[in-house]
Symmetry: C2
Subunit: 333 residues, 2 copies
DNA sequence: TTGTATGCGTTATCAC
DNA sequence: GTGATAACGCATACAA
């Protein structure tokens, strides 16, 4: 039924060690032998046994993804990227959703050590959860954090929110907009602050005044986008020609208010968001927005974990975002 | 560093076999011995090694979730449920995203057998992908399909779309609506047809005529919802008092048209969707919709896999949906 | 370039 | 009830 490495060895007329060498692409095998073994493995439909391999090498060929209360799209993309990297190295991805409470509870230690995974990926908000990191370090488990708030001295993968916001605002300015409204995100998120800073930087760089009346406070919700837009667009004689919302949900809120007020987008008003979530494409007109390299972050995180050659110095990678121009922005008139 | 079963045995003054017995809750162990072993394991912070256990028992303690082009929210919820069930049994969930092409390619066989998982969960649209199922059967891998189109003779977990649509429509009728519009989903999805059938059944049961002019064809997209609503609501003198869209995206489209036309929801028009996706709560007014028991389906699927006691007869489970009433529906006036 | 012997940590077999 | 001892399938020193 199950063909083992010994069967292959017998079939190829070599020792199991040689088979092992071939299977793991180790050097020092004659070309002819290698081919013979490969062929034998093929014929016997040999598949290495993960458990046996793991036991012998004291590796699990597994890495774990830890997350809490995920934004489904975000976490799915992280997963995609991580899995892609795993497959290239014969690894598999284990899922471990957990609340902050669980992450700090007494069980986390047993959970982590029981897994016996070769590495762990931490996603927000777990990325900034220090007790969890401590635990991993105590257990000697390699880990990479995704999009941490602070630039700690740990392996991490991130995106430059401020730079992205600057670039998006600059795009708006280049389109000819001079009077741009901005809706800030939830005050508890580091990204809110950074995106706001990035926006201000772009305006300043362009020599444009940042009018406080055009800066609204939101909380990342559709509803808060609606409210901000009602204020921003309330006076027909004093409206910005563009509104930059800190995320897509709020931008969608702006769009709905514009529709209600009979303001055509993008001819009378340009609207852009941030995150490139599903709603950006669902809604109409489709949103111009910033796409975070989420999939790539997941991939890179896994790669860092799987790359055993890398030294001990923690590597921090900043990946490129992308400005996605759709139908919700244009030149003012 | 790593405490093994032998360490625990020594510490407790018994043989490793006895420890194994205790750990696996096997019978034939004196109560006192059992306690002594448990205590020793506790003190030594013993954690069983997955790989070793798997090798010896020829089980992997892993089940795999196969999916293709997932709706993020859907798959995340399936994952949550499956993981919950897995944890209760000391299992872990492996993720295997794959396209239909991959699932039918030559690699699938090696991938499946290499995994050595103890079971596989298939989610739509892979649930109805027969070649994949064949492969699993040939390999002798246990599997459960989630929400298959046809009621085959395989273990499955599903929801009754038609019944849910009937119940939702009945709710509308009970609110006093007599003239209800309906937007059909994408023609390629089995659920579209079933939801339509369910709607018609409710109307018929209530003795209400199903006016063809009130039945629109959509494709599950926001845009198609907009178009359907424009037709349905175009004539101020001939409008339905409620619109039932086959999914939330289309319902959101209806909402946006209503907003543009100055039709107040829910006082002048009731709108409801299906699926309870994120947009149902993001948008305003929040959508009345049908919540599929997605998490539970994932959980049930995993349970079926992990329940070795169940006989050979394939079990099909139909789980309960839930009608979620929010702000987008009310009584007509 | 190839082979032999041993061990990884657990479960399973059988004897006591 | 309990305990030796042999698998499980592979990797890894160490030899040859």
């Amino acid at each position: 039924m199950k063909t083992t490495i010994t069967d292959v060895a017998k079939h190829a007329g070599v020792s199991m060690k040689t088979v092992s060498r071939v299977l793991n692409n180790e050097p020092n095998v004659a070309k002819a032998t290698r081919e013979r073994v490969t062929k034998a493995a093929e014929e016997l439909q040999y598949r290495p046994n993960l458990a046996a391999r793991g036991l012998a090498s004291s590796r699990s060929y597994l890495i774990a993804l830890l997350y809490d209360n995920p934004n489904p799209n975000y976490i799915i993309q992280i997963q995609r990227g991580a899995i892609e990297a795993c497959r290239r190295s014969g690894y598999h991805l284990l899922l471990e959703p957990m609340t902050r409470e669980q992450a700090s509870g007494p069980n986390i230690r047993s959970l982590l050590s029981r897994l016996g995974v070769d590495g762990v990926i931490l996603t927000p908000p777990l990325s900034d959860y220090l007790p969890l990191r401590r635990e991993m370090e105590a257990l000697g488990i390699r880990y990479v954090v995704v999009a941490p708030g602070e630039a700690d001295n740990v392996p991490s993968v991130r995106m430059d929110d401020a730079k992205a916001a600057t670039e998006m605002a600059t795009y708006l300015i280049e389109q000819g907009h001079r009077d741009v409204g901005f809706i800030i995100g939830h005050p508890d998120h580091v990204s809110s602050q950074k995106r706001h800073e990035g926006f201000v930087a772009a305006m300043t760089q362009a020599g444009l005044a940042v009018n406080d009346a055009r800066i609204m406070k939101g909380d990342f919700s559709f509803r808060s986008g609606v409210k901000a837009a009602e204020t921003l667009l309330g006076d027909p004689n004093d409206r910005p020609t563009a509104i930059f919302a800190s995320n897509d949900d709020m931008a969608a809120g702006v769009l709905s208010v514009a529709g209600r007020l009979g303001i055509d987008v993008p001819t009378e008003l340009s609207v852009c968001g941030f995150d490139n979530t599903a709603i950006a494409q669902i809604i109409w007109p489709k949103l111009t927005t910033v796409a975070q390299p989420i999939r790539k972050m997941g991939m890179k995180a896994a790669e860092i974990l799987l790359d055993r050659t890398s030294g001990d110095e923690p590597v921090s990678h900043t990946l490129d975002f992308e400005i996605i121009v759709r139908e919700s922005t244009g030149t003012p008139h």
